[in-house]
Symmetry: C2
Subunit: 230 residues, 2 copies
């Protein structure tokens, strides 16, 4: 896979985070000046765990997979959707990336200087508080995810993964093309085989509809029960 993103600067971000509203026009302008816009193709690595982390990324369009890597395995921690920051956890703390980012779809990313971001937070308190709010919301959600993906048995984990991805990430009862069984396996810490098998079971019980291009949830309530029972 070739890492060769095209760069075109100074294009206006469409989806704005609420955080930006607390900035003054002047501050906003400073931020805009430092902004880089980069486009990635599906499957490209956006940032690699262990490399230096000098930017705050804002996902303007598309979906991004966030991997935690360890020796020869990796685990998909979450899928991030557009209009969200990536890399806030590193503010004021880490200088290296703590996870790897991979484009799940074609993606547009705005990148801001981390140092500039931090200094804006120092100057503008309500901006800082908005960031904390973002951080904490995201963190509590991620704890839930990680907990769910480790504590139950396979059926429960997969049911949870389908619900989480459809209801909270893709905001649609159907899981569209780019999410493969491998992705689901990495998300739930299962093998690809087991994912396939249990999807088939769910489909046989008519909890979901399994097509070439999508997985569609038919019986959300029953899936929630499966999830709760483990």
């Amino acid at each position: 896979m070739i890492f060769n993103p095209s760069i075109d600067q100074k294009i206006e971000c469409k989806g704005r985070s609420k955080c930006f509203e607390s900035l003054t026009l002047q501050e906003m302008d400073i931020l805009e000046q430092s902004k880089l816009i980069v486009r990635y193709k599906k499957g490209e690595v956006i940032a690699k765990q262990g490399t230096s982390n000098s930017d705050v990324l804002y996902l303007q369009d598309g979906y991004v997979k966030l991997y935690k890597e360890f020796s020869n395995t990796r685990s998909l921690s979450m899928i991030e959707q557009k209009c969200n920051f990536i890399g806030l956890y590193g503010l004021f703390v880490e200088t290296t990336m703590q996870y790897t980012l991979v484009a799940l779809t074609d993606v547009v990313v705005c990148s801001f200087s981390k140092i500039l971001f931090e200094s804006l937070m120092q100057e503008n308190n309500s901006f800082a508080l908005e960031i904390i709010k973002k951080l904490n919301t995201k963190t509590l959600n991620t704890f839930n995810n990680l907990f769910n993906s480790s504590s139950k048995q396979m059926h429960g984990r997969l049911a949870w993964a389908l619900l989480e991805l459809t209801q909270n990430v893709f905001m649609d009862n159907a899981l569209k093309a780019p999410v493969t069984r491998k992705d689901l396996a990495e998300f739930t810490n299962m093998s690809v085989m087991s994912v396939g098998r249990i999807l088939r079971e769910f489909a046989d019980e008519e909890l979901i509809e399994l097509s070439k291009d999508y997985i569609k949830i038919l019986e959300k309530d029953k899936l929630i029960i499966t999830c709760k029972n483990g």
Copy 2:
């Protein structure tokens, strides 16, 4: 188990968080006025997932287990040691507790009003930034924990758990009395039996020493290798 903590107010906290240094004397005083000190006995529930969350807790002495509960199972997410805040993740976000806190040892907790805490952050920017720093450090660490406790096989998970608890929580090569096999099981998402068996194996290989009252790490390097291999 009876929940009946004794309350004695206005005792001076000994271990101070670095965060407090950024407060003015006057602000510090306001905080002190609202402070409650509560003592819990080993095993007592300090706060229960799902109840309302109106305080920020500061762990002045002892160790606290942080559980995530779900239907009829629970998972030990982390053990928090003294001189740390608990509940920062709820700032500006959640009104209910997202996890259950249980005293691992006898414990002394200072409790501050969450609303007061939030308003101090609004007024004092460097205090807010210190809190962000705390938050992010803790979050990145917790991600690591959750990842480690879900992605490997049992031997690797248990080796990791022993290393994490001795090196980062208890700061000692020996794991002392209060940590039971049940705790280790809940921490690593394994059964109590499996924990016992693998501890026995580790002891037979002389990686650890197994006594009535403690688990002591003998061969840290070999344990790290076990951890890395999964």
